[in-house]
């Protein structure tokens, strides 16, 4: 079976500064994979590289076997990869309903249609309502996204990300800035919504990482120093030295 994501020898330089070097990572179909590492290790850059936000300087990235490095974000999205953002990134002046509906449109084949009434598309309406129900925001459907609470915006962010039905979901610090209770809620939500899909997650909260992930990769200075099951990572001396050691244990 082909890997959901396969990164080979990827390098990213900004001018003379190498941010990512010799990056190799593979994520199996249906796997929940967490990427951890200290601040500035290049986790978000890795996300941006995979999702097409920035293009790698060299190396190749494959999604379900297809070469995607160098493609634009919307092309990669259409091939079945969807991502969320570390900083809430929604359509602030549009309602919650319209936010999710926009994310459903391409996946239901509406493309750039200007001859259809958007309120009259049963499949779109159905899917939008299901997603809103899933993220528990159905009762807030007519509120402009900019007026939601922070936790609600984070949930909407996840809703927009999964709405297109992508097979590979990438979440960038989905629980950042959340309280303990909100985090637990969000983790349960993520676990449920990514059922049967491939999940790649960047997270600082170690309890979330070790509770959620099937496999973990540790990124330090733009290079993956270890990849394995939570147990293997916990006992890896290199990881202990480079990363967990820093936390003062």
């Amino acid at each position: 079976m082909t890997q959901a994501i396969e990164i080979r020898n990827v390098e990213k330089r900004f001018g003379n500064v190498g941010i990512i070097h010799d990056l190799n990572l593979s994520v199996a179909q249906g796997e929940r994979h967490a990427v951890i590492g200290p601040n500035g290790a290049g986790k978000s850059t890795t996300f941006n590289l995979i999702s097409g936000h920035i293009a790698p300087t060299s190396g190749e990235i494959r999604l379900n076997g297809d070469l995607i490095s160098g493609l634009r974000p919307f092309e990669i999205n259409r091939r079945g990869l969807s991502r969320s953002f570390q900083v809430t990134n929604v359509f602030a002046r549009m309602t919650v309903w319209e936010n999710v509906r926009c994310a459903v449109l391409w996946a239901t084949g509406q493309r750039y249609a200007f001859w259809k009434n958007v309120d009259d598309l049963p499949e779109v309406r159905q899917r939008t309502a299901e997603i809103l129900d899933d993220i528990h925001l159905l009762h807030r459907r007519d509120v402009p996204a900019g007026l939601l609470t922070y936790a609600e915006q984070r949930e909407l962010e996840i809703g927009i990300t999964i709405a297109g039905g992508a097979s590979v979901i990438m979440l960038d610090e989905p629980t950042a800035g959340m309280s303990r209770a909100e985090t637990e809620r969000a983790v349960a939500l993520i676990r449920r919504l990514t059922e049967g899909r491939t999940l790649v997650i960047v997270e600082h909260d170690m309890s979330v990482v070790f509770g959620l992930a099937d496999r973990i990769s540790v990124l330090v200075y733009g290079h993956i120093i270890a990849s394995g099951t939570p147990e293997e990572i916990r006992n890896n001396p290199k990881v202990k030295e480079a990363y967990l050691g820093e936390e003062g244990h």
């Binding site: 999205n77 969807s82 359509f91 549009m94 926009c102 249609a113 958007v118």
Partner: protein, 434 residues
Amino acid sequence: MSDTATSARDLPVPARGQSLRFYGIWVIAAIVLIVLPLLFSSGSSLTSFSLIGIAIIFALSYNILLGQTGLLSFGHAVYYGLGGFAAIHVMNAVTAYDWPIPLPFIPLVGGLGGLCFAAVIGWVMTKRAGTVFAMISLGIGELVASSSLILRSVFGGESGITTDRTALPHMFGWSFGPQIQVYYLIAAWVMISAIAMYALTRTPLGRISNAVRDNPERVEFIGYDPHVVRYLASCFAGLFAGVAGGLTAINFEIANSAYLGAVQSGLVLFATFIGGTSYFFGPILGAILVTYLQLGLTNLTTVWQLYFGIIFIGIVMFAPGGIAGLLMMHRPLVRSGTLGMVIPSYLLALVPTLVLVCGVILGIETIAHYTESQGQGNVIALFGIPFDATAASTWIIAAVMIVGGYAVARITWRRIVDAWDRATTDARDRGHLA
């Protein structure tokens, strides 16, 4: 999972419940357009209504860019003007070669002219949004406006190109010679264009345009190319601006380089912004007000552009949502029944604010008159009262009205803010405000 499906299916269709009210508004608009010339049948009001109708289409087309897609264009008159020239040339060709195209279809030709230019130039223009788009639109505007003076065979130089609208094949026995017939032609196209542009906002493309306006970066991650969205939006904006240009060509029986210029581009931006870009009907209000002011003020005062500037700055600073935004602010208050709490404070503020405004007008007119007339014909008539521009008393009255009016008005404005606080708190308590 079955729970999810049922609750989703139980959802009401958002549009259906309000459909009666929705169609009612369009029917009322159509009736107003039909009845207006019967109530005000003078030649000058017919001319005004015709110009207002054209301005409505033009401003709505501009709002496809500004309000719907978030593109600030400084060269929208290019589509309008080229639509006008396309219409003029086709009208002359129809007359010369006896083509069977009646006059009512000529605005469509204008629209196609605008659309073609947008389709060709738009791809480059819409590559980027924001400042880059604004600058390119400014450059294209200047480019086309200056070429219109150079390419004389196409644009007719400074005098422009004329036509005779009555020489085209007649329809329903109408020659379109009398202004009333031209008015009804314009009114029909206002309805067609407004309905079409409203419908556009309710399509998948229309909603994705809103998403591009709010957050073009995120749009890329839900499968859409913001460049394509911006391009299509500018094509539609060009199409309807061209319709407006075609109607102008019919109305004046002439097209000249002024149609394409920066002044025209500025006016449409002005009308759209004053009306309010966040609501579909905003530009309609703006087009009515600006056209009406433009026609009325030019007869009343030589410095009418100064008033335009003051109004524009006032709206930008104090009501960035425009007139439509100001009106819609009151909707939650109307729904919760707390509007009565703010009305008295409005009435109270009205008197000192009017005094302030009159003082400003008197001041401006006195200064303008004093500097322009060089001592001859010193008397100016304002609000039906004659003032002597050289008399010290006039200057003192103006100063007292401005200073006194402002001092009192400030207090009453604060009362409005207080009343608003109480009214919105009540509205929120009653659950009518998020």
